[in-house]
Symmetry: C2
Subunit: 135 residues, 2 copies
């Protein structure tokens, strides 16, 4: 019976270890920084702007997350607020950075500058706010 208890104890130890490993969050999640800097952008396009020009802006903005490694997350969408406080803005974007240094590197990046040059003549309003998130 001594042999039995040795086997049982070894099995128990091995399976508890397996359980602990399985329950440990994946590396990518545990390494996610606690602080996130949100970069909120909204655009109102000029009335004269054509749908294909708007599409070009959407694609160009989305491409920045692949061109500029400091962009940690990129979200966007079309306004559907019923409150009427969007100042005519139809397009909203939320980019996330890990530091103000990264945000500044994004702002100064040649591809972001080129994007700004593309967008500027097409819009009436560009609203931008950045903040470190609190809860």
């Amino acid at each position: 019976m001594k042999f039995f208890w040795m086997i049982a104890a070894a099995t128990l130890a091995a399976l508890l270890t397996l359980g602990a490993v399985a329950a440990t969050p994946k590396k990518t999640r545990s390494e996610k920084p606690r602080s996130e800097l949100r970069h909120v952008v909204a655009f109102k396009f000029k009335d004269s702007v054509k749908p294909e020009e708007i599409k070009r802006v959407e694609d160009a903005f989305a491409s920045l997350k692949d061109k500029i490694p400091q962009v940690q997350r990129y979200e966007w969408g079309m306004n559907n607020s019923p409150e009427g406080l969007n100042q005519g803005c139809t397009h909203g974007f939320i980019l996330t950075f890990n530091s103000e240094k990264d945000r500044n590197a994004y702002l100064e990046h040649p591809d972001h500058k080129a994007f700004g040059a593309l967008v500027k003549p097409l819009i009436d309003v560009a609203f931008v706010m950045d903040f470190w998130i609190r809860h």
Copy 2:
């Protein structure tokens, strides 16, 4: 030895179950929907508004996430954008909802209405945009 293997098999089964339970994401995480509706808000306070009035607004807004169960996530922060496109807004907020129905329930909730009545006389600009996030 037959008894030994029965005990060993039972131990194995019990511990595999324990491991599986430990590895299962918590209910709140697994139930998180893939789609999220962002509700972005920005305030510019009037120059005459006192710091304690601003603090009252900050506290009142934060309390809505506890009072209104439809609010899935609440983030806020102080603008630090160097771009000067924030229209004087100092405070940014991002609330997350799971549906337009939930967002509308929040807008119509008596506690949100009371918050609106508190804020309105204190601000020059309230900017609001809502959108379903795309990536």
